[in-house]
Amino acid sequence: MKIDPHNLHRFHGGLHLPGNKEVSLQRPLARVPLPARLFLPLQQHIGTPAEPCVEPGEAVLKGQVLAYAEGYVSVPVHAPTSGTIVEVSEEPVPHPSGLAARCVVLEPDGEDSWLQRPRPGEYRSLNPSALRNRIREAGIVGLGGAGFPSFIKLNPGRRRKVELLVLNGAECEPYITCDDMLMRARPEEIIQGAEIMRHALGAEQCVIGLEDNKPEAAGALREALQQSPDARVQVIAVPARYPAGGEKQLIQVLTGREVPSHGLPLDIGIVCHNVATAAAVFRALVRAEPLIDRIVTVTGAGVKEPRNVEVAIGTPLRDVIEFCGGYSDDVKRLIVGGPMMGFTLDSDQVPVTKTTNCILVAGHAEAPDPLPALPCIRCGACVDVCPANLLPQQLYWYSRARDFEKTQDYHLFDCIECGCCAQVCPSHIPLVQYFRFAKTEIWSQEREKRKADHARQRHEFHLQRLEQEKREREERMRSKKEALEHPPGAGEVADPKKAAIEAALARVRAKQAARDDPRTARESNLRQPDEAPTAGPQVDKTGR
């Protein structure tokens, strides 16, 4: 696949949004000190929550596994520092529901002592399957925000060859700059991580795509590439347009190919990972470091010193904001993520997780109160901007009417929830909220249906079981009745049990007679057909 940086393609729709990125790039990257307690959710990824394997009171070392992966779509959780386990309990986590989830609570001891790690072997000698296993054991998930276990997306499968690995450094959402900072500060980690991933996938080439509003990052990456001339990595800047950082949109811009509806990029021979994920892969394979920290952008008018920080997973948001100067006077809303795709939190006592890319403390001007929704005037502005080529207007009508079959006919699940449609709607209709509602309703209905089918199976088995018991009871009644009506005669064997007992008694009597008779004593070691062989002619009186 040849990608010509001067002949890139376009995706449909999209918007130019004010970046608001400069404010968080003024200060250098700094590390947030460890808090008094770390709260590590067992589920920081898409899939099955991890299972805890530590007890309260247990002392753990940095990098030690605290919860192991459960099932295939799952990754382990590691200790970001050494300390003592306080408990495994339900704690508030960053989620739009505001609900709590199970977390491992860890109290750092201040030593920060690493677990004894084996010397990482040369990654090039590992086969792709072993590479994927290491990546899984390091707890690496997609750090762009979705949190899908990365080792699964590094498995090409048997269907087709992976031609291209795309590293997504676009970071198109306003305010967020963590990937920009990473690309500037540690470009060599990204490039070496790219090589490892390329090796795991068997891909021929890798392209790092980033928006053209990040010239420093592009420069840093290109310079680092010069240090590794063997790396088959290309750095390409794409026009800045929201949401160019969407996986499908970035692929379309770079290659001109569209990911099929309900399909994956793998279907067209491409795999896309975030640049931070690549850096994490580097650390896991080359330094044997599991995923225990990440870069987070702390920004917005509500925080005094907006900047990018490196944070240990599990650090409460409050501690991170304190490190950045604390709250200013103008605090309207606390948002995890960006202004388009993030969600609001009621409390700052939730921890940073593997997928926390930005803490946006929005001021009053930045997060004005939503205007009341007016009726849809069928203007079609939403259709013009949808990067997934959908009809948000139709999806809105059918979601509102709860006609979920029709929403799926209009490809509801291809919606990436970017928010472009809601942004341009002249009636201020919260379109994305309707689509999210429809999606979770549909999933809930599917779950209900599966439960109902399962219950039906159990009920049918229950009825069958009762039928069978009834039949057996009738059978027994019948045979007993027959036995009573026709008592067994001299030669008849009415009851097989009784017959067996009679036969056994007869055998014993015969043996006793034979033993007592001195003439046949020497022949007493004649074996009966159903007995074990005797040791020799001496047969003890109690034995057979």
Binding site: Q43, V93, H95, P96, S97, G98, L99, A100, A101, R333, I335, G337, P339, M340, G342, F343, T344, L345, D346, A367, P370, L371, P372, A373, G419, C421, A422, Q423, C425, H428, P430, L431, V432, Q433, Y434, R436, F437, K439, T440, E441, W443, S444, Q445, R447, E448, K451, A452, D453, A455, R456, R458, H459, F461, H462, R465
Partner: protein
Amino acid sequence: MINAILAITGLAVLFGILLGYAATRFRLESDPVVEKVDALLPQTQCGQCGYPGCRPYAEAIAAGEADINRCAPGGQATIVALADLLGRDPKPLDADVGEAQPEPLVAVIDEQTCIGCTLCIQACPVDAILGAAKQMHTVIEDECTGCKLCVAPCPVECIHMVPLRRDIGDWKWPFPAASSSGFSEPRGTPTASP
């Protein structure tokens, strides 16, 4: 003229044979409409509709004996789905069936009070109660459909219905309120659909 009559008669006989063969070879064991109706019912087997289970109710609907608005656990969603399938008009839940269940329930046995009589085990339509005579009985939460059939037979009244535990995995985005924008929203509350 005679040729025409023979030709038509021949065709009639041929088609008659084909249809007769098809009637026996492709005979359906049960009415397919019953299967489709049963697939839409929630399989709680609670009997609130007046029929001893979901399948008998499905058969009654297919036969035209029962109306489509008698399923309480299914609620309005089931009534609408049945109306859609059968081409009838949806109507509100029949008043004498009771109220639609606002949230799913599961049965819980108070182990201090249980006497091990197995009456609840015999009552459960999906065999969700584990136990034996004079042994402790317990409800397997994952299998319980909340039909409440075990509550009445218990001689010591030790079975209670409690709301099913919901966690983050079951949470759904709520239906949007009237005044909201495309920006990040104040968090929704975990509720069942309105």
